[in-house]
Amino acid sequence: MKSLEELKAIRDKMKGSVILREENGDNIRVVVGMATCGIAAGARPVLAAFTEEVAKRHLTNVTVTQTGCIGICQYEPVVEVFEANGTKTTYIKMTPDKVARIVTDHLVNGNAVKEYTIGNL
């Protein structure tokens, strides 16, 4: 290690990884429904797409996690976004293609993508 900059570079690279282990209530939580119905409807690639997209953009304030069936099986794959202020947005019939836009518009800029939400039925 020849300079502090090198050390900082490693720290910043790792921060995104180890921060997952700090219980942080202020994080935005992206919850993907991964019950049998969700998996059958294709939730796995959606989950993977979210993980990848969040990592690509180094969004350390976003947690991607999964949950069981929330009861609206006909709209699976369902993804819910919980923000620190308590708002919940429910996205339905998700596909990996829709993920990038949700990450940019909603997670980064704070504007929910209305046309993908359950309210837009």
Partner: protein
């Protein structure tokens, strides 16, 4: 990128209860479910709650699974990690609320709520075999700050201002120790670390080495810079194989990353670190004996002065600190002396790690601010004494310390308070004893340990501890007189005043402190020939109550030495000459007809 991290404890406690098999099964199950690129398995150091091992934590949810078995893994993988359904039956019961479906955070449980982790902050959080995870937790930032922004004098001043005192037992101010070594001019100086941890029941140093080895490397490099040393030695006992292996891995990685070696951070500062294995002799935890052992000689102490800061390792000025002391240093440098000094009591700053064991529910490691009371540690964090038994005393400081009786349970624990009540901090072993413990027997247990461990160099310790042990033995056999008791007390003071090193000087402490608080128990053994706790075998008799005995013969068949006589349907009798008082018959008797008194 992994969306979930599964942390499995790889400390000695959980490894011995099978955590490696759990990791192997976990990895193969993840593969089977195609999750290996989404879920990361991390083998960490100790979480502290050793009584509930093997322990597993799943992030980001922070689910705390305890006493996990290999057979539970497929369920955890297919339910929790794949489908997101937490396996509630395997959660640590305290994190599951009966009213709601929410899973409580680990930090809200009684065991962790009052803890404040400084020395143990990375234990159970990072993978100790991966230097980058340590760096990700701000590791080596303190070393960078010290080398680029601070002079050695400023470093020492910062440690002095923080009020950090030696965590190995003595409680000597660390900054002052460093300034002595810095002031001595020499062509070569050394930094040494005492990781010999010989107190029965203490294992915090082991846990730090196993869970966060880089913190030690960083702190020793900082100490090297502060005093002007370019070489360091870690003296660790060979009985800690996991700790030794991880420390070696950490040293190799630090060298590879240029954090040990020549010209660190391009500042021209050179520092390298070496491990020396100890064979596990208790006396080698004494500083002069430890350094003699590092030099390759028989581990025997020598008189002080000269102190190590003047003439230490290989005759050169040396700073020697314990693992836990070093573990506080990088945080003090990064967060400042004031931050550290804001925790604790007036004369004892910061936090202290205790290894809590004995008659307590949550056996394990706890780190609390200095000044926390014994009651908080035992009743709240420790979960109290199992089986509804009454708290009798706690032994701190191992064989060099003393006991704290029940009426002093509200004493705030710090260096000076413990000395005032006749015990000492020691390295932080805390053995809890309930009403079934005989204090004379405990004193005898510790004396037996010091007799074994006395190196034999000086007579007061070599012969004195042996004679002291024999006197205690006589008391537990019921053959001692009151005159013996006086003689014993006199011998205690003689050993304390005349022994060469700390081992002998503190060896009589368990006897003196039990005499101070539990003299009545000694008197009961001597005058009434009775052991109030019912522990000392020679003072008890196992008898069968004729009116309750049905003559079922079960006890006679159970007795390993054939000491119970009698025929079917006739009350049995114990032959006292043969009875070894093992109590096997008492456990077997269905009618409660056999008693020990």
């Amino acid at each position: 990128m992994y969306r979930s991290h599964v942390l499995v404890c790889g400390g000695t406690g959980c490894t011995s209860s099978g955590s490696q098999q759990i990791i192997d099964t976990l990895e193969s199950e993840l593969k089977k479910n195609g999750l290996e690129n989404e879920v990361k398995v991390v083998k960490t150091g100790c979480f502290g709650l050793c009584a509930l091992g093997p322990i597993m934590i799943v992030y980001p949810e922070g689910c705390f699974y305890s006493e996990v078995k290999v057979g539970d893994i497929p369920e955890i993988v297919s339910e929790h990690l794949l489908k997101g359904r937490i396996v509630k039956r395997l959660l640590y019961s305290e994190t599951v609320s009966s009213e709601s479906t929410d899973v409580k955070s680990l930090n809200e449980t009684q065991f962790y709520a009052k803890q404040h982790r400084v020395a143990l902050r990375n234990c159970g959080v990072i993978n100790p075999e991966n230097i980058e995870e340590y760096i990700g937790m701000d590791g080596y930032q303190a070393l960078g700050k010290v080398l680029t922004e601070m002079t050695p004098e400023q470093v020492i001043q910062c440690i002095k201002d923080s009020g950090l005192r030696g965590r190995g037992g003595g409680g000597f101010p660390t900054g002052v120790k460093w300034s002595f070594a810095a002031a001595n001019q020499a062509d070569q100086k050394y930094v040494a670390c005492n990781a010999d941890e010989g107190d029965p029941g203490a294992f915090m140093d082991r846990s730090i080495l196993e869970g966060d080895p880089h913190v030690l490397i960083e702190a020793m490099a900082i100490a090297g810079y502060a005093i002007g040393a370019s070489e360091g030695y870690v003296y660790v006992r060979a009985e800690y194989p996991i700790a030794v292996r991880r420390l070696q891995i950490a040293i190799d990685q630090a060298r590879e990353y240029g954090l040990l070696g020549k010209d660190i951070f391009g500042t021209g500062f050179n520092f390298d670190l070496f491990i020396r294995l100890g064979a596990g002799a208790f006396v080698c935890g004494e500083e002069t004996a430890l350094m003699t052992s590092i030099e390759g000689h028989r581990g025997e102490p020598r008189p002080r002065p000269p102190f190590p800061a003047v003439k230490g390792l290989f005759g050169k000025p040396t700073v020697l600190n314990n693992v836990e002391t070093y573990a506080n240093v990088p945080q003090i440098i990064l967060k400042g002396a004031d931050w550290f000094a804001s925790m604790g009591t007036e004369k004892s700053k910061g936090t202290k790690v205790f290894a809590v064991g004995g008659k307590i529910k949550n056996t394990g490691l706890v780190e609390v601010p200095m000044g926390t009371t014994l009651r908080e540690i035992i009743e709240e964090i420790g979960g109290g004494i199992p089986g509804g038994k009454k708290f009798k005393a706690a032994q701190t400081g191992g064989p060099s310390g003393g006991c704290i009786p029940a009426h002093l349970i509200d004493t705030p624990i710090d260096y000076d308070n413990l000395i005032a009540i006749g015990s000492m901090m020691g390295s932080g072993g805390l053995i809890v004893m309930d009403e079934d413990t005989c204090m004379v027997d405990i004193a005898k247990f510790f004396l037996e340990f010091t007799v074994d461990e006395s190196c034999g160099k000086c007579t007061p310790c070599r012969v004195g501890t042996k004679r002291l042990y024999e006197m205690l033995d006589k008391i537990t056999r019921g053959t001692a007189t009151l005159e013996d008791l006086d003689k014993m007390e006199e011998l205690c003071y003689y050993i304390k005043q005349n022994s060469l090193c700390g081992l002998g000087q503190t060896a009589p402490n368990p006897v003196l402190s039990t005499l101070r608080y539990f003299r009545d128990e000694y008197l009961a053994h001597i005058v009434d020939k009775r052991c109030p706790a019912g522990v000392c075998k020679h003072l008890m008799q196992v008898t069968i109550l004729a009116d309750k005995c049905k003559g079922c013969t079960l006890c006679a068949r159970t007795c390993p030495v054939g000491a119970i006589e009698g025929s079917v349907k006739v009350p049995h009798v114990v032959n006292q000459d043969k009875c070894i008082k093992c109590g096997a018959c008492i456990e077997k008797c269905k009618f409660g007809a056999i008693i020990k008194k």
